[in-house]
Amino acid sequence: MPTETEEIRGLGHRVKRKEDDRFIRGKGTYIDDIKLPGMLHMAILRSPYAHATITGIDTSKAQALPGVVAVVTGELMAQHNLAWMPTLSGDTQAVLVTDKVRFQGQEVAAVIAEDLYTAKDALELIGVEYEPIEPIVTPQRAMEPNAPVIRTDKEGQDSNHIYHWESGDKDATDKAFAEADRVVALDTFYPRSHPAPVETCGCVADINPATGQATIYMTSQAPHAIRTVFALVAGLPEEKIRIVSPDIGGGFGNKVPVYPGYVVATAASLLIGRPVKWIEDRTENLISTGFARDFHMHGEMALKDDGTRSWPTKGRSMPTHSPRSSRWGCSTSSPAPTTCRLLTSPRTARTRTRRRAAWPIAARSGSLRPPT
């Protein structure tokens, strides 16, 4: 193979990328291009309600459809102790609903079939009885004392306030504000964004029933972290798990978390003994995977008229997420300090002094997720 030697000239220097040769020929290998012998296809049924109790699921018709191999519900997952899973930030997250739906688009059941069209047909044959509960669509409503509590699964959780963080020197900041000639304040809203990579999320789970070796092909930006979560969920040693990230059709943070579909596909592969592919569609990607921002913020600055003082700053913000799309059913997926980096803007504004920040995050019928 000829080696190209090019002078490296730093920023702006053109580099020919190795991967382009296959991409321009249509020879990339993205997740949906992986096909294993005996592979089955999975499709997920999602809740149309943002907040609802599930009183019954009838899967008999779906199960009877020719080509359907299995229909998985939260109840079945619970029998294997897999209805809930840990998140990367130490929270928990429902894999398939067992008690109640906590956000619109939450995973309720999954069908595994010989082909995708059959799996999607079968979704329409599953009967689910929902009893809707008041959805919470603003953080302000979530914080009201009479608001329904979203995270009823958490022991002792009697409100939707789930997060509080402070940093900086409180006394010095208070003093600066007390002595200020003037205080300026700003309320602002930083809207939600979704990474929306053109390739949606998906996986092919392949568990070898004889060896217990798990190979999971996944559109993942964080295969090592995901391997750790899988080891925790499955109770397997990490060396039994191999996460393969093939070519990835964009990620932008969207492909870091562990999504329930991965866990269900993996469990299904283990129970059925055949590889299982799950590729989400665009609607699923937008309503149920990781998004960012959606902060209601309040900031204040204490100023001296003669300019002799630096600018102690105090801020209160409410990072929140709106109701419809979220994967975590009100679970926190990424470590909270990332939130602070964005919200303690004095640092980026180069006002280097004390700051204090505290903000409640309201759990809502859309989950919470600090930004990445």
Partner: protein
């Protein structure tokens, strides 16, 4: 249903369900996975193929609608092993990053250059307006398609790829 489609110059036949989407006919039945699926709702253009030379979104056509017609996919661009000018230009002008939108972008570019040998930036932007790229910011895609026009016209030597 029995159908017969000329795919990248080769006659192919298949027995398919009438509801099978063209994108799945191409990807699953014919095994040409260079055509991608990003939305299956006619929004992203990742599934673009040429149907009798015209760019179409293959997620929004049935396979049976291609019966008796000619389909060109990204795999058909380098006919005879030689890269098409759009392929060369996408690499030279860094018109791709993750590569997922790229087959659709290149096919749209190719169809544009068949009709307009010297497109302006606006012409190119209009042509790719049905295709979403989340990585590049489009500037280099526009540059690449215009660069392909110059390569085609012999106005520039393609650098070695």
């Amino acid at each position: 249903m029995q159908i017969s489609v000329k795919v990248n110059g080769t006659e192919r036949t298949a027995d398919v369900e009438p509801r099978l989407l063209l994108v799945h006919l191409v990807r699953d039945t014919f095994g040409l996975t260079g055509t991608h699926e990003g939305c299956d709702t006619t929004s992203c253009g990742a599934c673009t193929v040429l149907l009798d030379g015209t760019p179409v979104k293959s997620c929004t056509l049935f396979g049976v609608q291609a019966d008796g017609r000619e389909v060109t996919t990204v795999e058909g661009l380098a006919a005879g092993g030689e890269l098409d000018p759009v392929q060369v230009a996408f690499k030279e002008e860094h018109g791709l990053q993750c590569g997922f939108c790229t087959p659709g972008m290149m096919l749209v570019g190719k169809a544009l250059l068949e009709r307009n040998a010297d497109p302006s930036d606006d012409d190119v932007r209009w042509a790719i307006s049905g295709n979403i790229c989340r990585c590049t910011g489009y500037v280099n895609i526009v540059n690449a398609i215009r660069h392909a026009a110059r390569i085609k016209a012999g106005a520039t030597e393609p650098a070695t790829v």
